[in-house]
Subunit: 342 residues, 2 copies
């Protein structure tokens, strides 16, 4: 166990390299604060396909092709694709993987998928099992609403704690060594922490932030303990899609455990929409952290604005059939450490 530390943290001594990334979103996300940064914006969230599901699948496929094209590569150059989405049987990822024709390992981690895929991608690269992997997560407002909540045609209103599922696919390419064709040259993945399923008994499907915050707290506290680090080691601690309410809850839960996140924490769910877009607590969905990482956060590390970043994606393991049977909504959060190498 030479690369295992403490309870749940893995070290990547070879420091796998982030070579490229890409993001595709819909118009709604493009109207948010990060609007100029996304690689592609869909004018129409069906993208001319005859269902939202087919549109999401095409987004997943295209974002992988795009991230690879930026570094003069194609899907045939991938040793493995790790990915997932929010749909039953992860159909987005499965059908996209069919089109991409790459070795594929399907994941289900709800909105924690971007960190889960980066963690496993780094394990494969660091262990010498792969030289180039794609890590992908995707979500789509219209496919998620009708599967998890209500048919869009009902026009239901949302409570104050709700978040809007991001329509977006994000892909990050992890490689064993830098190449001149890469988009990024200085971002290394040095460690990761595996999440644990944590459940404080939230049963409200319109309050995902509260379901995920305890898991995020658990992973942050465990990570710091495993590596004997203080919060101050990191310039930024990112969470995926806790939203405004969930972020406050995380802050308070961490404080109770002696960890003060003041001035170090930002949440992708709070970054992606303007408050005046009226999406209540912010963005959610596994595309939220995926596109924010791909379009914005990686640049912060590459440019040197941030030297060390702890990136967590947080998943609410919501299932309509489980909640209908009276179950609460558990959460999970995985984390990876991104560091700038000069």
């Amino acid at each position: 166990m030479k690369n295992h530390r403490g309870k749940r943290t893995l070290l990547f001594p070879s420091a796998p390299h982030i070579a490229s990334a890409a993001s595709i979103v819909s118009k709604t996300e493009a109207q948010g604060p990060l609007g100029q940064l996304f690689d592609m914006v869909l004018e129409d969230d069906t993208w001319g396909e005859d269902s939202f599901e087919k549109a999401e699948c095409r987004m997943f496929e295209e974002v992988v092709r795009m991230a690879l094209a930026k570094m003069q590569r194609t899907p045939a150059d991938l040793d493995c694709l790790f990915g997932g989405d929010l749909l039953n049987q992860i159909i987005t990822a499965n059908y996209a993987a069919r089109q991409l024709n790459t070795p594929f390992l399907g994941l289900y981690g709800a909105c924690s998928t971007m960190a889960e895929s980066l963690l496993l991608g780094s394990v494969l690269v660091d262990g010498g099992f792969a030289g180039r992997v794609a890590c992908v997560a995707s979500s789509h407002f219209s496919t998620a609403e009708r599967q998890y909540r209500y048919p869009l045609e009902m026009g239901t209103t949302e409570p104050e704690t709700s978040q809007r599922t991001v329509t977006g696919s994000g892909c990050v390419i992890v490689t064993e060594a830098p190449s001149p064709d890469d988009v990024f040259h200085k971002i290394r993945i040095r460690a990761g922490t595996i999440g644990r399923v944590v459940d404080l008994g939230i049963t409200d499907a319109a309050n995902m932030g509260a379901a995920m915050a305890p898991a995020a707290c658990d992973t942050i506290v465990t990570h710091l303990k495993d590596l004997e680090r203080q919060v101050s080691y990191y310039d930024l601690i990112i969470t995926g899609d806790l939203g405004r309410f969930g972020s406050e809850m995380l802050f308070s839960l961490c404080k109770d455990r002696g960890v003060d996140l003041s001035g170090r924490h930002i949440d992708c769910g709070c970054m992606i929409f303007h408050p005046e877009q009226n999406f209540h607590c912010g963005g959610s969905g596994c595309g939220c952290s995926a596109v924010t990482l791909a379009a914005n956060l990686l640049d912060k590390v590459e440019s040197g604005g941030v030297q060390r970043m702890l990136f967590l994606a947080t998943g609410a393991l919501l299932s309509p059939s489980a909640t209908m049977q009276g179950e609460s909504i558990p959460g999970i959060a995985h984390a990876v450490v991104l560091e700038r190498e000069d």
Copy 2:
């Protein structure tokens, strides 16, 4: 990429060790040819719970505890749990992982899950990222039928190509080094091959064997090519749940590619039920290969009856919403190499 060979095959030079395994099934599986070998048989497939889903979740949880107890361990001794099932949002695995309170990475590979979890578990152990991992897959006839096909109350009849979803959970514990308390002492995992999503256009949800056979063929052919091996290197090539029709199709597809499986291939779906149980083409579901491996196949290697085994689990990536939108059913197959060490 020191541990990568050919297109999709990974080598595990440290040869992670299979330390223990356990299986839980329902009465129907216990009435099959392997009936005496399972660790636990449920008298009632609700196991006294108030839903089939809750019963399946308890099976998943208990099978992990059981496999660990056999080697004098508890869930607290696990560095990671890899698992999945057939239900939307893999609720079986998620809720069981909550109860087990272990580091957890959720997978979705349909019936390929047992091989996917063993492959990733071996990667973690071989890379020094974990010392002891649990690899688990689960399915339940009654939860799967109502999610994927028809309500049980309808009493629909099945066509000749259909297979019966196995009610069963299987767990295999992979460790970095043998210990005297282990159940198995001689089984090593030496390599694995990552699957690719393959789709020959099957659209019949009652013919899963045909949807999976092309993927199994693709993985077997790629594996042999990557490692420059002949079929004769293996005493046995196992597939997960192709069933009788799918197995014939695999035989024929492999023959077309110059690979003759005669006398070397068996399928867990054909092993688990007696023909007189009238389940048409045999067993299916990710529990099928999981419990057959845990209860029977590992013993074959441990006892020396089989020296080298290629274990494939084959998944039909069936989704009711995708098939309703006119999509065909793609398949995927992952493989691991189990060898006896004297």
